[in-house]
Amino acid sequence: GAGVSQSPRYKVAKRGQDVALRCDPISGHVSLFWYQQALGQGPEFLTYFQNEAQLDKSGLPSDRFFAERPEGSVSTLKIQRTQQEDSAVYLCASSPARQNQPQHFGDGTRLSIL
């Protein structure tokens, strides 16, 4: 497709369940970013990939959060043993290899933990 695609758009899970959020970046984009956005707040950086390499995971809030991009294209953000504070919108963005190019965002996955 033409843009970044995220699925599902909405996810409801019970506390303690594991969830997996998918991101399909723009074809050919080398860099991929995951952000967490709480209601009424700005995006908070979670992690960054360049191709399949995870170069920065400093924003992952706990070891319950795990991200992968095994073939350098699609990425999955996994949250284990979900907690209510994990409720947020999770945004994925991608950008080309060239330096100084803007990030292109998907519409996000709204995660609600009951």
């Binding site: 970044v4 707040q41 950086f45 100084n100 803007p102 996000g108």
Partner: protein, 116 residues
């Protein structure tokens, strides 16, 4: 440490009037600055960026931003606001001297309301 401040939570303007959304930043090296807009239940859309060159940057939908190094500011402007400009606006910065890490630091956002 890198940081971005958007001092106004909300800006209200009348349709047809000029608008300004403020942003100040702090980086240790040279800044790479962005503005994005977010409509309800949507991701962020890129408006414009500054790397080097002219301090006045023109972007999408008639928006522009002025880079001021001495004031470490990058305010977003539009000469004549439209009701459809009502949305959440985010400023972001990246330190160009931070090597290969492309992580952006984001402001908390400013809600723009344009009244008919």
């Amino acid at each position: 440490a890198q940081s971005v401040a958007q001092p106004e939570d909300q800006v209200n303007v009348a349709e047809g009037n000029p608008l300004t959304v403020k942003c100040t930043y702090s980086v240790s090296g040279n800044p790479y600055l962005f503005w994005y807009v977010q409509y309800p239940n949507r991701g962020l859309q890129f408006l414009l960026k500054y790397i080097t060159g002219d301090n006045l940057v023109k972007g999408s939908y008639g928006f522009e931003a002025e880079f001021n190094k001495s004031q470490t500011s990058f305010h977003l402007k539009k000469p004549s606001a439209l009701v459809s400009d009502s949305a959440l606006y985010f400023c972001a910065v990246r330190d160009l001297d931070a090597g290969n890490n492309r992580k952006l630091i984001w402001g908390l956002g400013t809600s723009l309301a344009v009244n008919p």
